[in-house]
Symmetry: C2
């Protein structure tokens, strides 16, 4: 038996960066996930669940922020000394799964996954170390039709969540970006230029946050931020920086993709990238998606090192305000792209793949700020305890209500003070309480108290005496009519 | 970019004791969880999600098998050197949550949780290191009505899963067991007898597996198992062993609970336990549960050290056979009980609590063996690619089908060999493929191939020529009727 030794008592606290998710938020989350899942299913993806952790070497290191000192994953050692890591995304475990089961899988292999991922990063406001992702991936398809489909999937998912006109899927291509870099003398295939390329891509990725001036510094000598921290730059010459900036700020107008062609015309990989993006634009247009839902944007980079072709992200276009009314920058709520080398890590064989991932928590925060969340469920009907020795009778009423599919429970606290029971019902958001004291019992009746109606009436009636007189929103009904009468009250409030 | 270096290639493998869950099993699991969740909601429990790991000291050590050398949890160190552990059940995190939020919670606090838990134990057949639990708990209610409700919840959950007549909730009480031990001289409150008590309880817990002889050895001098491993016994005298055995094998007949009273009549705690069990029996009987669904069983112990009052477990009564036809012992598929000291670990304040937990994976295995699982979802309609340059047209057909809420996808592999496309459709369990070559295109038609009907016909038609002649289960329809005609085929197969 657990003994409570005062000296050794642990403090009840959450590890930093982790959180509990309570009923209202959890219900809204479930409802979101159901909608996302329905779209993924409609697209023909099959669900797959991989475990929370993997061998560290099998996961690899493909975290978005590889410039952090910490590797960003939570790792532990098994009893046979092998290192395990909690998954930091759902793509790395997918690559392991595909490599392991390659022979038997249908090809292309299309799967979706809903699951928590963990990052050992510095937590911040709205930035947690465990969060939920919903991913869809097509593995074994090199056609850009697969990338185009991912963009449509993203657009349809947003529509299912009520954001058809409130979000946009922005596409770019790693190949186009490499073409731009090649045009200023960075060879995307040369190991010697790899670091410079990465620093430049990361710099471009920050356009949204730092503006052209900030990006310009990061492409050049480096940048000191407000806190005084210095980030080393890519060391590009001013002319090269201009060329890159001109490209990434060229906007997403109707003809911008054609305009890009002139910048990268001398780069084979750049031309390939543009051709692919034009094909994607053609496919999504033919399928009826307007440019305000899916369109080219030269500033999109995406942090993950493993992308090899088209990349895209989902940005909200609706203005979002914090609870204090300040405008909030949400960042992207989803992203994806083509990664052709992830399975090859295991097998040596190149397996083309493309995928899309939704950041559920961030999107939920946005939907919440927009007031677009489902109402939380109504609380249960509470059957109160008036005569303690008659608990069996009250419990039976509860079971009768439940059998009629009505959410109900017996008050299980100490029943001595009736006021406590009503307080409890209030706190639970109960629409109605059931009361049977000796008076009602003798008449074969129960009293039903409509708490929602009662709360309204309470605002109108002044004084305790007048209240007692009126007994608002309270009816006595035959006990045999319990289910029928409770249903009436629930129906009155649309429950 | 990820370079695949042959020398450094990791092997794609799962850590031991972990597994991937694929589509069919995952769908069956979702359907199960939806049903369980609906019952928990109907009972008025609110959902709560706590994170996957906690501070190790906050979790405590309440694992069922504390006699194992390994502590049974997966632990890791945060960057500030604090120890974290993956949760091994959902109750320990609940205790932390309640202690942390005690002031603001409604009391009693009723929550349910669905989540993975991790155990660092030796894996075995059907015994994994990550598995799913569905728990409901009522915290802050000392009334046995709360325990009785848990038993009803268990019975209703089994009914919702189609096992109304295939499972039984067996109840006992730690207090009754302590009463029996007290009657043979083991003081349940004395620290000096704590170890002996635990060894005796664990011995009784094995009745089901080892029979009376095995338990008798474990209560006495100890037992050597088949592999030669010796387990030390409780060292009780033969007379004491007889008394315990007589109790635990006294069966669960109508009057067995009254019979027990005579055994433990000299133990205050034992009498208290019997009184509580009688009250539980009265409550569940009043609510209409027959004894074959919820009933007393003196052999129930439950391994968890933290139980303090009524304990119960859910056992399947239907005979279960393995795929080779052998009878299988499933063990319990759910369990619960009263634990009054878990929150006190943090606060020093005793908070009475009672709960129920379903082992989802084990129950699912049982339902699977009983053939009581939902059919897996139908595969998507596959739109094939006949003319490669017309991908946009095909993709548009797919989007048209999806807009009509039909699961559909474009074949995204290499379309050169048409046979590969049909093979893919087969492998995906597709009910129907859509074909439009130049012939159909010129006539504004599409060909629909009913794969389910086709598979049936294939068994009846002999020879390739006859097959080509008959073109079974294949129709050409106007392209504008695509949705209508596909729906006809789906309807034909009840999809």
């Amino acid at each position: 038996m657990a003994k409570s030794n005062k000296a050794a008592r642990p403090s009840p606290r959450l590890p930093k960066g982790l959180r509990d998710i309570e009923a209202a938020e959890l219900r809204a989350q479930s409802s979101m996930i159901d909608k996302i899942r329905a779209v993924y299913e409609r697209y023909g993806f099959e669900p797959l669940e991989t475990p929370a952790f993997e061998y560290t070497d099998a996961l690899g290191k493909f975290l978005p922020d590889q410039d952090r000192p910490n590797e960003g994953v939570f790792s532990l050692q098994d009893d046979d000394e092998q290192w395990l890591s909690l998954r930091y995304d759902l793509t790395a475990p997918l690559a392991r799964y595909v490599a392991q089961n390659f022979q038997t899988l249908p090809k292309p292999f299309r799967r979706y996954a809903v699951g928590s991922v963990w990052r050992n990063e510095k937590p911040g406001p709205g930035r947690f170390r465990q969060f939920l992702q919903c991913d869809a991936d097509t593995v074994g398809a090199d056609s850009v039709a697969a990338d185009a489909e991912m963009c449509m999937l993203a657009a349809d998912t947003l529509e299912a969540l009520g954001l058809k006109d409130g979000a946009v899927v922005k596409i770019n291509s790693r190949k186009v970006l490499d073409g731009v870099l090649e045009s200023i003398g960075i060879d995307p295939a040369a190991d010697s230029d790899a670091k410079k390329r990465l620093v430049a891509l990361r710099a471009i990725d920050k356009l949204d946050r730092l503006g052209p001036e900030g990006v310009s510094l990061l492409l050049g000598k480096g940048r000191k931020d407000e806190s005084g921290d210095f980030t080393e730059g890519a060391g590009l010459a001013p002319q090269a920086i201009d060329k890159v900036l001109k490209f990434v700020t060229s906007g997403s107008g109707d003809d911008s993709l054609r305009a890009v062609e002139s910048v990268i015309k001398d780069s084979a990989i750049g031309r390939e990238g543009v051709t692919e993006l034009i094909e994607i634009e053609r496919l999504v247009a033919a399928a009826g998606y307007e440019r305000n839902r899916i369109g080219f944007d030269p500033s999109i980079v995406r942090g993950l090192e493993y992308y090899t072709g088209p990349v895209f992200e989902v940005d909200l276009t609706l203005p979002i305000k914090s609870e204090s009314g300040e405008p909030v920058r949400m960042g992207s709520v989803g992203s994806g792209g083509r990664y052709d080398d992830l399975v090859a890590r295991f097998t040596g064989q190149k397996v083309p793949a493309t995928g899309f991932s939704i950041g559920v928590s961030r999107l939920q925060a946005a939907l919440h700020a927009l007031g677009q969340v489902d109402k939380s469920a109504a609380g249960p009907v509470i059957v109160t305890v008036m005569e303690k020795e008659r608990i069996a009778d009250y419990q039976k009423m509860v079971q009768t209500l439940r059998a009629a599919d009505i959410r109900a429970e017996l008050y299980l606290g100490n029943p001595k003070k009736f006021g406590k029971q009503l307080e409890y019902a209030d706190k639970r958001g109960s629409p109605c309480v059931v009361i049977q004291g000796s008076d009602e019992r003798e008449k074969g009746e129960v009293t039903l108290k409509d708490l929602i109606e009662g709360a309204k009436a309470a605002k109108e009636i002044e004084g305790h005496e007048a209240w007692k007189e009126a007994r608002p929103a309270q009816v006595s009904v035959k006990e045999t009519d319990l289910v029928k009468e409770v249903k009436k009250i629930l129906a009155r409030h649309g429950l």
